[in-house]
Amino acid sequence: MDRLIALIVTRWRMELRTMRRARERAVGLALLLPGLLFSSLLGAVLAYGGVRAVKAHDPDLLLPLLSLVATGVGLSWVLSPLLTGVAFSESHDVSRLLHFPLPLPTLVVASLVGNLLQPMVLAALPILVSLSLALSRNLFALPFALAGSLLSLAFLLAAAQAGALVLHGLSRQRRFQDLAVFVVIGFGFVMSVLPVLLLSGGARVLGTIARGLAAGNLVALSPFAWGLRAAVHAGRGDALGFTGWATAEAAAIVAAGGLSARLIERIHRGELELGRGGAAAASTPAVMALPGQVGALLEKDLRVAWRDPATKATLFLSCATPLFWLLVFTRTSGGLSAGGLLVLSMLVGASAFGNAFGLEGRGLGLLLGFPAPRWRVLLAKNLTGFALRLPGLLTLLVMGSLLAPPVLLPAAATIAVCTFLIAAGGDNYASILFPIVAPRPGRNPYGGPAAGSRGLAAAALGALFFAGTLVLASPFVFLGWLPMLLERPSLWLLSLPLALAGAAAMYAMLVAGAARLLARREPELLERVLSEA
């Protein structure tokens, strides 16, 4: 018992110290708490009102509906570490304690109890109390209904712990981790556009699916809901029903705890480490096909990007995003105007904030260890940025050709390229002067130098560079737009090459200046990036 208490107290003490010593976390929590309190109280009111309304209108629907909601909440809670990327980056805290002679159940219970002080868990308590109040027909039933609800919460925490351990164990296999990161980013994108899709008629489909699940009562099999089912029976004064479901939920909690203990043991013994996932020998020759140092640098970046799941996912999303916006354009305004296509081209071109040296992390020491002239390094980085944005640009142009007059396409492409040249040239200065060092693989993606006030400053800087790019690129954009303004398309034959030449000249000047700056500040840049990476 002493060891259990020591473990729990140490965990809470560490969490408090983390907040005290990291101002941005304390500020984040201060901002989060009122919101959490509000949503908790709102949830409590909605839960009370919702349960009362269902009880009044369709009492038979109460059990399946509550079970469905509990299952949905439970599954999203268990999968939330995966969606935020934390499960794949943070080692589960119990793994640091495994070399002490502690019984595994002690570790599991300590971890579970330690989780009780999490703000999200505390915020769930008012909702459960109001839910129990709404379910109870008299005060005598209230404690039993509350006990049932709390059993559901306890199972949810135990399942979340077991789920996190499974993810942690699986994340040791590089291929699984890569696949999961790739899928999760795509899933995150779908979730982010879901509100728009729901507004455009998708809600009806979801409603039909939910009604089907509730009618079939399949959710009765979900252990996330067994405690709540016990609470419903307690509220109705059905002692047998309460005892049955509560016992089942208690057994599920013990089973989840046992599974956690078994998983910890297997992770400790390396049994969940499914090998290093070594690839078979490559059959294609490894020779760098592109010529010269710039070619080798570009090819290296492209190969690395294609094999990095996060970059690959971003590449696919760069195609999906213009498609999505073009879809929105067509549904809201009935078509894409000529001005709209040119503005979109400019925005796609201007989004070249690459943070190339910050993303290199510790690899920067390697990169700048080679005796390549620095302008070539910058040029290669910019070419990589362009190559990675090219699919998105091409998607935009193809979609634009279907929705806008095809005669606009050369102007749209020229505007995008001109804006990109200016953005990339300017971004080199940001990369050298203000690199935002990416957390190392396997570290918390939301921690480190990219977090807190530095992260905010980076976002502000990005916005500043974006605005600067639009200003600097405006003469070339104007050249692309002028023939349309004058309604003389033949002028494009002159204005587009002129715009490209002007933007290229400005890009060359920007790169030459950035190369000189890099040569001067190379040790400082390395010192900063290597110390933070």
Binding site: A281, V287, M288, K300, R362, G369, E522, L526
Partner: protein, 266 residues
């Protein structure tokens, strides 16, 4: 005490000349007016306890960190003003290995060769030889992220050698390498030294340093406390002529290895 009371002039026979090298972190010296020189073709060991300033020094010598004060010449080139020229001449094996993990070992060596300006054919020839020599042939198609620590080290060493450098900086080169590969690597380094390549080598394993190095420098708390051959240092510091490098090292860094027993053990 610095054995170099007078600054060493850079001579035609010196591969590395360091004068008054200093690095302050937050006003505190991590490296404090260090001066030494390494003659061309020497196997030079740079030794010191943890936190003595070895890695900071090696970073300054390879251009990864700007010194607060002092000068460095590599093969006669001033590092500060001719950084790229120096980088063409040196090879670096850092203690931490920031390799491009999503390239295969073979691709990485091809990339390194091209970055040093080698032709495609020459890069391919040297890559094949290096992979065979370092027993990495079977793993050539694997991504580096799937390599073991020893394989990463050998890959980084291969990349440091591919352009035939004149000075090699090796930070703990034998850490994480199995004994068989360790012997292959030490034999290779010895042969390179015989061919005139200068080795600047740090290690915690003093018997390896004793076997390999022609000359050592010992740094403690940012200051150089000795430099020379083992015999010279023994003579300078009045240490017994049969004393090992470890004995000399412990005496120079004033490490008190005599401790009281722990009361509850035994």
């Amino acid at each position: 005490m610095n054995v170099f009371a007078r600054p060493a002039p850079e001579g035609a026979g010196d591969a590395i000349v360091v004068r008054g090298l200093t690095k302050l972190f937050g006003g505190r010296p991590a490296v404090d007016h260090v001066s030494f020189r390494v003659a061309r073709g020497r196997f030079f060991g740079f030794l010191g306890p943890n936190g003595a300033g070895k890695s900071t020094t090696i970073k300054m010598l390879t251009g990864l960190l700007r010194p607060t004060e002092g000068e460095v010449f590599i093969e006669g080139h001033p590092l500060e003003r001719e950084l790229l020229a120096v980088k063409r001449l040196i090879g670096i094996l850092p203690e931490e290995l920031p390799l491009y993990e999503r390239l295969t070992g073979e691709e990485y060596l091809h990339f390194a060769g091209r970055m040093y300006g080698l032709s495609r054919e020459e890069t391919r020839r040297r890559t094949d030889e290096l992979l065979a020599f370092l027993s990495l042939e079977e793993e050539r198609g694997k991504l580096i992220v799937d390599y073991s620590q020893g394989m990463r080290k050998k890959t980084a060493l291969a990349a440091a050698l591919i352009h035939s450098p004149r000075v090699l900086f090796l930070d703990e080169p034998l850490n994480g390498i199995d004994p068989v590969s360790g012997r292959v690597v030490t034999d290779l380094l010895r042969r390179l030294a015989q061919k005139g390549v200068t080795m600047f080598f740090t290690s915690h394993v003093l018997d390896v340093a004793e076997r390999l190095c022609d000359e050592v420098a010992i740094i403690d708390r940012g200051r150089l406390v000795a430099q020379g051959t083992l015999a010279q240092i023994r003579a300078q510091r009045e240490v017994a002529q049969d004393a090992s490098l470890e004995d000399v090292f412990l005496k120079l860094v004033a490490a008190d290895v005599k401790r009281q027993d722990l009361s509850w053990i035994g």
